[in-house]
Symmetry: C2
Subunit: 179 residues, 2 copies
């Protein structure tokens, strides 16, 4: 079953970077404030309403608890030697019929703390996704979308072997509070 | 729970088109060959290996059975008055922390049979997704990617109110048989 494959991912996993060791592990409810800070530490996310506001804590807690409870989703955090959360990404395993019944691994919400960027952490995390997590899930395709404004991120994904073959469309549901 | 919300979608659902009534329902294993034909009835999918080959039947059956078993996924088919499958799309409900804990609804594998295109069926199905399925799931965002080559599809999604704000990246996992 696909459901159990993400749950069977070998975590925590150690990543060796130039600056030292980082561990990947599953997010827990105790990471809530660290995740809210990571999301707000990015101008494009902040413009969409991720501003680390106390008033939004319940909404983030609800999202995090639903990810943790969902067998098809994992929120992965990277922690430094002091156990500080310094990066995150979300994985969703998606069974499919297209492309001869391929399973896809969708990556969302890739964020690295401002003071840990350009140190190879993002690359190491994404290589773990493509080289470890995807094969472990039986996924033949890893996919993600990146805001058109994130030119540095686009070069980053192309360097990692991703192909910018698609256009990503978003529809904001009427009546929702999304900015 | 997000898990149960897709399962609680009111289906079958009737769509009224200029040419008559069409019903949306959940796909069943008995739809396998109709789905394989729909996927192959498209030059871009065919170029990716979706060619309705008997040898691929087990791979498609495996994908379809995993979708049916997965509470976060629904494969929806449109059937005409003769109960013939004439279109399909896949929905994945994805809980999240980004965008203040938003739930997303991902749309994959949108296909309409060649002899039923340009009759409003694709629009009616996508309006059902944005106006019925997304609110029913508590999703504030509907997202999809479309191959850069599908210029007509891009105009179609823009007309429906989607915004082409993102670049869609795909990574083909090493060692997989994907073409």
């Amino acid at each position: 079953m696909m459901d159990s494959m993400l749950q069977a991912l070998a975590l925590p996993a150690d990543l060796t970077l130039r600056g030292g060791q980082v561990a990947l592990r599953r997010a827990e409810m105790g990471d809530l404030h660290a995740l809210m800070r990571l999301l707000s530490d990015d101008p494009i996310s902040a413009a969409r309403g991720d501003v680390d506001a106390d008033a939004d804590q319940d909404a983030y807690a609800s999202g995090l608890s639903r990810i943790i409870a969902d067998a098809s989703n994992e929120l992965i955090v990277a922690v430094d030697a002091h156990r500080r959360v310094i990066a995150m990404l979300q994985l969703t395993a998606i069974p499919g019929v297209a492309r001869r019944g391929s399973t896809r691994l969708l990556v969302e919400a890739v964020r690295v703390a401002g003071d840990h960027r350009s140190a190879g952490l993002g690359s190491a995390m994404m290589r773990w996704v493509t080289e470890v997590a995807a094969p472990a899930c039986g996924a033949t395709l890893v996919q993600l979308t990146s805001d058109r404004q994130r030119h540095d991120a686009h070069r980053f994904y192309l360097r990692l072997g991703f192909v910018d073959s698609h256009v990503g469309f978003k529809y904001h549901v009427a009546g929702s509070v999304m900015t």
